[in-house]
């Protein structure tokens, strides 16, 4: 479990043989067999040990009250053993539950001393927890099935056709802005794109500024740099130009060998007219 590397996906050509108690299993019992690479997905499908236990019980059409505790416990242990042997990340809760089940099992199997009569059935607490959890699991499903604004319910809206602006929008707070970004990113799963991760925003900002500047006409490459910004500013500017060029948003042109570099707004490839060329040319050096 502490081994970060060997996962199931790491060696797809030689799937890891599931083992229980160190012994390889040739054939998993029918109702236990899960393709090895699906185990992780399988585990993800459960909301925790209680959920897994409930699944094991429900799968056999059993009432919680009728849990054959020994059997369920054993099945649960098998799952855990397989997953541990396969070095799958297993939340601590699953192990705690395993220990708890083991305790129940041993208490059931041990001959019961007469005195222990009033201690109660060791399964009682587990059954209660399972029942309590199942209530809320069902409640959650009911809640999710209810019509919700934005899903089934849509607000009916119409506004007057007047141009009177009510009030200017308040500026967003930074928190609102960042949370909005977080939401958008989470939905787009863009967080996983490492190439955007550490990109300094100043480059993005500068890209916009350079484009605005170029709308007035082409500029000499060096005019886009402001020496007063210092080294860091120049780096940002250079990165911005390169990024814009890469995104086909501007062109860097050199009319002749060793000639000055000129930066201009990218033009639609096919429609470069002579007109444009000459007008660009006229404006050239500064």
């Amino acid at each position: 479990m502490n081994d970060p590397n060997p996962t199931v996906e790491a060696a797809p050509e030689a799937p890891k043989q599931p083992k229980v108690h160190g012994q390889p299993i040739d054939k998993l019992p029918d109702d236990l067999y899960i393709p090895p690479d699906a185990l992780e997905v399988f585990l993800d499908a459960f909301e925790g040990p209680l959920d897994l236990l409930l699944y094991l019980i429900r799968r056999q059409n059993l009432n919680i009250l009728d849990i054959p505790v020994l059997k369920i416990t054993q099945q649960y242990m098998e799952y855990i053993a397989i997953m541990r042997d396969m070095k799958l990340e297993l939340a601590a809760e699953y192990l705690v539950m395993a220990a708890y089940l083991a305790e129940i099992k041993s208490r059931i199997l041990l001959p019961k001393p007469a005195l222990e009569e009033d201690v109660g059935d060791p399964r009682m607490d587990l059954v209660r927890r399972l029942q309590e959890y199942e209530r809320f699991k069902t409640a959650a499903e009911n809640l999710d099935a209810m019509p919700r604004v934005g899903r089934e319910i849509h607000i009916a809206q119409a506004r007057p056709d007047l141009v009177v602006k009510p009030q200017p929008l308040p500026p967003p707070t930074l928190r609102e802005l960042l949370m909005a970004m977080r939401d958008a990113m989470t939905r787009a799963e863009m967080f996983s794109h490492h190439q955007v991760a550490r990109e300094p925003l100043s480059v993005r900002e500068r890209m916009s500024k350079i484009l605005t500047r170029l709308r007035a006409g082409p500029a000499s490459f060096f005019d886009l740099f402001d020496p007063e910004e210092g080294r860091a500013g120049i780096v940002v500017c250079l990165l911005a130009i390169l990024e814009l060029a890469r995104g086909a948003m501007l062109e860097v042109v050199q009319e002749q060998a060793f000639g000055p570099l000129r930066v201009q707004v990218a033009r639609a490839r096919a429609v470069v007219t002579e007109d444009e060329l000459t007008s660009d040319f006229d404006k050239e050096p500064e």
């Binding site: 109702d31 209680l50 009432n63 054959p68 939340a91 699991k137 069902t138 409640a139 959650a140 809206q157």
Partner: protein, 222 residues
């Protein structure tokens, strides 16, 4: 008079159409007041007539926790969804279970939620629910660590088109305790009869998992 009541209805209609949030009777009184003081009763009556007028249309007047709003009838939501490229994202089970616990057990701490669900609660879930405006911290529990107590908001009720928490579906009942004891007693006997090795895994293949001997009191099953 006839004229006036009609006009009141229409003003209410205009206000409700223009508002992106429900409007309470109090708000409506305030908005209408400058011209002529209008009683709550009068507004309520006008809203009732307005609601009746929307029968047979694609919209309906609905009273929710924080007031009245006009909404598109749910039967048209399939069409409305086509206006947008994507369906609203599904909410995770973990999030819905947490929300259910807060709905039915509020005020509740994170620890109590974890105890019932049997797993640790990701802080992101609580944050997401707070961001959505569905829950908030309503106080702290006076125990060591003083954990925050979580409760639901009016926004949640509004979003579920409910007037109050009472309208939530009832929480599934837990079995009566005496019955539980009886079942456990029965279980105990069976368990004793079973040898540890008899409990082989996979004894009952899923496909064949035919109605295993169900308890007599089936009525209490989920």
């Amino acid at each position: 008079m006839e004229q006036d009541t009609h006009r009141l209805e229409k003003i209410l209609e205009a206000l409700l159409l223009a508002s992106d949030q429900p409007l309470s009777i109090d708000q409506l009184v305030r908005l209408l007041a400058p011209d002529a003081p209008i009683g709550k009763k009068e507004i309520r009556d006008a809203l009732e007539r307005l609601g009746a007028r929307f029968e047979g249309t694609a919209a309906e007047l609905k009273e929710v926790a924080s007031g009245f709003r006009l909404q598109v009838r749910a039967e048209f939501s399939e069409w409305v969804h086509r206006l947008w490229q994507e369906r609203p994202p599904k909410l995770s089970r973990a999030l819905m279970e947490t929300l259910a616990l807060i709905c039915y057990r509020q005020p509740i701490t994170r620890g109590e939620i974890e105890e019932i669900r049997g797993v640790s609660l990701s802080p992101n879930i609580v944050k997401t629910l707070i961001e959505r405006g569905w829950i908030r911290e309503v106080g702290v529990k006076e125990v060591p660590g003083r954990p925050a107590l979580l409760g639901t908001t009016q926004q949640l009720l509004d979003d579920l088109a409910l007037k109050s928490l009472d309208q939530l579906p009832t929480l599934p009942e837990i079995k009566d305790l005496a019955q539980l004891e009886a079942a456990l007693a029965k279980l105990g006997v069976e368990a004793m009869a079973a040898t540890p090795d008899a409990a082989v895994i996979g004894e009952v293949p899923v496909a064949e998992a035919a109605p295993v001997e169900k308890p007599a009191d089936e009525a209490t099953l989920h």
